[in-house]
Symmetry: D2
């Protein structure tokens, strides 16, 4: 049986992978010990991130070679613009953050670095490069949440961040992430080849490192 | 009052504009005299065109500078992928053309030329360049259908192409076209300036010429 | 030994390959029987083509993943802007065509179709897609000229198009084409894989078909 | 007389402009007090920056609308690949940094953020957006060096960074920067308009902020 591409990419990223998925931000959040200021900072920047995330899937529509590929990219733009951004805004309102306030906030260095890195790989490379650059986020969040929910050290009761973990550990998001991981395999079969692996692994490792910097940017606000 | 950009662009295109909107293909269609082979050829190539039309609006999502701009581009991808392509496939089935048959057809020179010209202007320029390149299609079809429906020479009864005219002369499409024309004015206010007009007019005139070649490609099949 | 990618691509293009490389335009030119109007039409459109050819290699600079790749793309922009366009202008002057006259000429449908098809593949895909789309031109012209020069039916004395054949059959251009063919193999090793072959073959076949349409556009002017 | 666009952009950037041009890194460098580790860190990251700078001008070739525009972008790729990177490598050798060592260094967050921000504006917008995003670097370095050289507080003798200041304060670079500033005015006349100013000012201010973060990244290494 062939090892799924996502597994190969995380293995190749080595220590950088857990430096991201088990970053202090995540561990503190799971224990309910994350300073509120860190979480708020993260929420605001994640809102700004989502705008570029939608742009990335718009780019994927343009880069599609078939109607099926176009429909999948389109469904992710729809999910982002019609569902995720809305949920995010609603969720943030619960933390006292208005959409106008978030939209007015300057992008942090880590936000600029990660989002534009992804878009650059996506424009300069092909759709496989783009989806590999997005995978630490799309598939990684599902792994992060599932791992924390399974961890006995995670605080379930009275954890102010419980909703966040539940959302990404929930069936809907886990299904979306599995789907995205399978799409990587399909595209690697159609547009990949072993010769591409080193460059794809480099993109994945860089994106992973930039995602860890995103958590750190949250922590640094505390 | 400021003259709308679309009016200025059609005026600047001069004779090329009516060479497109009053092309023999259109006049024959309105009179019900268009050879069926010409219409079938057009339908198949228009299906192939729609795939690149959806890509163009995906590109516009990527090129958006605000959530509002993104939502408008997204709504046009949705309309194309979820409604127009479906209607087109259904309509073509009535003419004995299956989706598989259309997808297997090679693109005509005129189809490649128009679609890739639009995408190139869209990538190399900004979103205003992209929308100006699309305007002869998006807004032009509404003008073509409205003009023909208003023409006493148009055959209403027993015209096999009546549905086609009604679709583009109908309220829904006319509203969409008015909306697109207004969007041109908004973008010209935000990203334009008189200095840009000559280049925008050149893009519009070229796109118009390529649309006329698209009609001609249909006629040449008869 | 591995079959070079270029050979595999021409084989996969089948009859379309010779419909391009042995197009009547080429055969008539080699015999010295090409109507002058056809050649002039070709020269003017080829000038307009070169502008987009330089843009394509500029795009390749942006798409480069290493300094070596960047330098190769840059050398092709340099060759086009500093040498080829100059030679072309000088050569055309000999045929009574001024640069201003050529720049003022509208692009033919075949010119728009081929150049924008290449650029679209190049932006939507990766650098390998771009170079495969350019190969029927870059490598194909060398094959065309070498084949005609080797053909006893080719008129050597008193052939007004002899210079054109000599330029592309000459050592310099033949070396450039061999280099470009080898670059395809290198990139296929690094960014390819058998899964990509069908799509690359489709790009190559389409570009070949569009190149044949370019010759035909020349002939149609006669 | 019309105020040059560059002046309007720096005025609109407000305090952010001097936070960049008079950043501690610059002031310490001019006094000869910059820790060597800070300068080395800067040199390595500036090498990695130059690779993306060349890509940006490659993109500008693709985005050109005329042969003259293409030639200017091409000359900047040539200057970067054939001159600047070479000088940089030679200069760094004097500081004990080999090219291989620099190429192997991971990009700092500030390097990723600035370079990819520029490229994203360049792809999503038009060539004016691209050149405005590059201006804090291209034109800003000339202003920084000229201002420091004119400052009596700058140490001339025994300043290990004197060469660096002289290079950017020298006639050649000052001429290049003046040329780039004039090109902004030309493009603003052709592709601009007051409506674009707020968005262009936002791009310029963001790029300025990211340039300041680049200096800070150097300082943080000390």
């Amino acid at each position: 049986m062939v090892t799924p591409l996502f597994e190969r990419l995380t293995a190749a990223a080595g220590a950088a992978w857990h430096a991201y998925t088990r970053h202090d931000f995540v561990l503190l959040l799971a224990r309910g010990d994350l300073p509120e200021a860190a979480f708020r900072r993260y929420l605001v920047q994640d809102y700004l991130f989502l705008l570029h995330f939608a742009r990335a899937w718009g780019l994927a529509i343009y880069k599609s070679e078939s109607l099926a590929e176009m429909r999948r990219a389109h469904s992710l733009v729809t999910a982002t613009l019609d569902v995720e951004i809305g949920l995010h805004i609603e969720y943030c309102r619960g933390w006292g953050l208005s959409e106008a306030a978030m939209a007015a906030e300057p992008e942090a260095l880590a936000t600029v670095a990660y989002t534009r890195f992804v878009l650059d790989r996506g424009v300069a490379g092909d759709r496989l490069d783009l989806e590999v650059a997005l995978a630490p986020c799309v598939v990684g969040y599902a792994e992060i949440a599932a791992e924390r929910i399974a961890d006995p050290g995670t605080r379930r009761n009275g954890n102010p961040y419980r909703d966040w973990l539940d959302m990404y550990a929930g069936d809907e998001y886990q299904g979306l992430a599995r789907h995205a991981a399978r799409a990587l395999d399909d595209e690697f079969a159609r547009r990949g080849g072993e010769g591409r692996f080193p460059e794809l692994a480099a993109i994945f490792a860089n994106a992973t490192r930039l995602e860890a910097a995103f958590w750190q940017m949250g922590l640094d606000a505390a």
